[in-house]
Symmetry: C2
Subunit: 326 residues, 2 copies
C-alpha cells in the first residue's frame, strides 16, 4: 500500500464548516473555518465546501496529485452508502443533496460522506483517545448526546444507516421526554443542555436552589452553572449532576453488554468539567455493572477537542482509500 | 469458491449435545442428540463431541473428504479467537479446554468455536427468520435472555468476546435483581423463568391471583401458567406478562438505536405463546420508539426452533471456511 498522500477533512456544521488537510499519520498540515452560509441556499453551501477543499490543499502546500481523497462529516439524517445528505435539522437547505458526488465532480477528488458523530468517533479512534484500541464506543455530550461505535476497526452504521444513536438509549422508562419524543433517553438527562434545562424545570416546579435567582432573572443556565452550584453543595444541582452521571453510566453498562468495547470515550463540551464528571461516572458504572466477568471498558475523555470532526472526516477518507468503501 | 461440501454442527449443552451434518444450503443430512455426560469429566465430554462429529458424517453417508469443517456452539464464557471453552456454569468439567484444536486433532477436520447464543442467531440469520436480511438482532427468551447481533453479515463478538449479552441491557434502573447481580436487566423481567418467578414473588408478597393456590401447593409455576392466567383475566398475571413484553420492547428500542437492525428475531420457549406475546411487544415498541425517523425493525419470531443451535454451528463453520476466520 502506498504510504505517501494526504486527505482533506470537512466538518460540516449549521453555522461554520471546518476544513483541514492531514497526512496518513493524522498530522494536520492546514486547518481553517469558514461560514457555511446556509441562508444563501444549496448551491452556495456546496460551492463553499468545494472551495474549502481546494483551499485546504493550497494552504498545506501539497501537490494535488498527492491528495488521495476528501472525507465529509455531515449532520444526519444522511446516507454514507448513497453519498446523500438527506434532511439535517440545522441545514434546512440541504435536502437530498448528493454531496459526495457533487464534491468529486467539482474538485476531481474522490469523496466519502459520513455521519458527523461517526466521523468524530473515528477521529478519536484513529488519532485520539481510542488510538491503539480495537473496539470503542464514544458518547458526545453537547446539546444532545451523540454516539459512535467502532467494532473490530469498523464504524457501525446499521441497516437504515442510523445506528450508534446512543443518546436515545432508554435509561429511565417513562422518564423525561426527549426531543425525539421518547421518554427517558440518556440524552434527556445527560446532555449539557438537558441537564441545565432539567434544573430550570425543577426550580420552576418549586424546588429551591442557589440558582433560583438566576432563573428568576431570566438568565440562561448552562451546564457549567449546574456544576458550579453542585460543587458548592447546592442539593438540587448535586442531584441533577449526579443523575446525569448515573444515567450515562447505565448507558455505558448497556454498551458494555451490547458491543463489549475495550474503551468508552466521552467527548463534547461537558467534559470540561473534568474529574467532577469522570469520577462519578466511573463510580456509578462499577456499582451498576454485573459481577459475572470483569469485561469492563476503560472510561476516558476524548483528546482531540473540537478538531475531532475534521480529523475524523479526513480519517474516513483514509479508511475509504484503504478499503475501497467510498 | 467451491460449492460442494458439508459442515458438521455441534450444539453443546449441559445435559445433551446435538449434532448434525448440513450442506451449504442448510439442508440437514443427519441429526441426533446424545448425553453430554458432564459427570464423567473433561476427557469423556471431548471424546463424546469427537465421536458425534464422526457419527454425523457417517449417518449422512457423505465422504469425509467432502467435509469442510466443524462448528461448535458452546455456552460462555468462551473465546472464539482462542478456540477455548473457559468456564461455563452448566459445564463444570470444561474449564479452559482448547476445544477447537482438540476436535481438529481427534477428527482431522478444521473446527471453529462460537458462543451458543451467537451460533443460534447465526442459524436464524443463515437459514431461518433472518434469511435475506443484512442486519439482525436476536433475543432468545428461555431460562435467561440470550442475544446475538449480526451487523453487515458479521456476528458481533466484542473486545472481551462477550458482546451481544442482550439479556443484561438495563431497562429499569434500580429494578429487579438479575442473576448477574445487576438491577433491572431485561432478563429479570422478560425471560420465561423470571416472569414466572416474579409472579410467585408477588403472590408470596401478598398479591392475589388465580395462581395463588398453585403457589401454595408448592407446585412449579411456569411462563405458560402465567400466560394462561393472563388470558383468563388474572390481573397480576396480566401485569407481569405485559411488563415482560414492555421491557422487551424497551430493549428493542435500545437495539434499534445502537445497531439499527432491519429485523429483530425473538426465539426460545416463550415464543410458543404466539401472538399473545408478539402483539403486545410490537404495540409497546411502536408506542415507545421515537418519531424522528421510521427506521423501525421488523419484529418477528424465529423459525428454526430447537435446531437453531446445530444449524447455526454448522453455518459458523461455513462462514469460517469462506472467510478463513476459524
Amino acid at each position: 500500500m502506498d504510504m505517501a498522500g494526504y486527505c482533506v477533512g470537512i466538518d460540516l456544521g449549521g453555522t461554520n464548516l471546518k476544513a483541514g488537510l492531514l497526512d496518513r499519520d493524522a498530522k494536520v498540515l492546514s486547518k481553517f473555518s469558514v461560514p457555511t452560509g446556509i441562508e444563501k441556499g444549496t448551491e452556495h453551501v456546496v460551492s463553499t465546501i468545494a472551495g474549502a477543499v481546494e483551499r485546504a490543499v493550497r494552504e498545506a502546500g501539497v501537490s494535488r496529485g498527492d491528495v488521495v481523497g476528501v472525507g465529509i462529516g455531515s449532520p444526519g439524517p444522511m446516507s454514507h452508502r448513497r453519498g446523500l445528505v438527506i434532511n439535517p435539522g440545522n441545514l434546512p437547505c440541504m435536502k437530498n443533496v448528493p454531496l459526495r458526488d457533487e464534491i468529486t465532480k467539482r474538485t476531481g477528488f474522490r469523496a466519502t460522506l459520513e455521519n458527523d458523530a461517526n466521523a468524530a468517533a473515528w477521529g478519536e479512534y484513529w488519532a485520539g483517545a481510542g488510538k491503539g484500541v480495537r473496539d470503542m464506543v464514544m458518547f458526545t455530550l453537547g446539546t444532545g448526546v451523540g454516539g459512535g461505535v467502532v467494532i473490530d476497526g469498523n464504524l457501525i452504521r446499521g441497516y437504515y444507516e442510523n445506528g450508534a444513536e446512543l443518546g436515545h438509549i432508554i435509561v429511565q422508562p417513562g422518564g423525561r421526554q426527549c426531543s425525539c419524543r421518547q421518554l427517558g433517553c440518556v440524552e434527556a438527562y445527560s446532555s449539557a443542555s438537558n441537564l441545565a434545562a432539567r434544573l430550570v424545570e425543577e426550580i420552576r416546579g418549586g424546588r429551591s436552589s442557589s440558582l433560583k435567582a438566576r432563573v428568576d432573572r431570566g438568565e440562561e443556565v448552562r451546564a457549567e452553572h449546574v456544576a458550579q452550584a453542585a460543587k458548592a453543595g447546592d442539593e438540587l444541582a448535586m442531584q441533577v449532576w449526579d443523575d446525569a452521571c448515573r444515567y450515562l453510566a447505565i448507558a455505558t453498562v448497556v454498551m458494555q453488554h451490547v458491543t463489549n468495547p475495550q474503551r468508552v470515550v466521552l467527548a463534547g463540551g461537558l467534559i470540561n468539567a473534568g474529574d467532577f464528571l469522570l469520577k462519578p461516572i466511573r463510580e456509578h458504572f462499577r456499582r451498576l455493572t454485573w459481577v459475572l466477568l470483569d469485561d469492563f471498558p476503560e472510561i476516558m475523555f476524548a483528546t482531540l477537542g473540537d478538531d475531532a470532526g475534521v480529523i475524523g472526516a479526513a480519517g474516513c477518507a483514509w479508511r475509504a482509500h484503504e478499503t475501497g468503501d467510498w
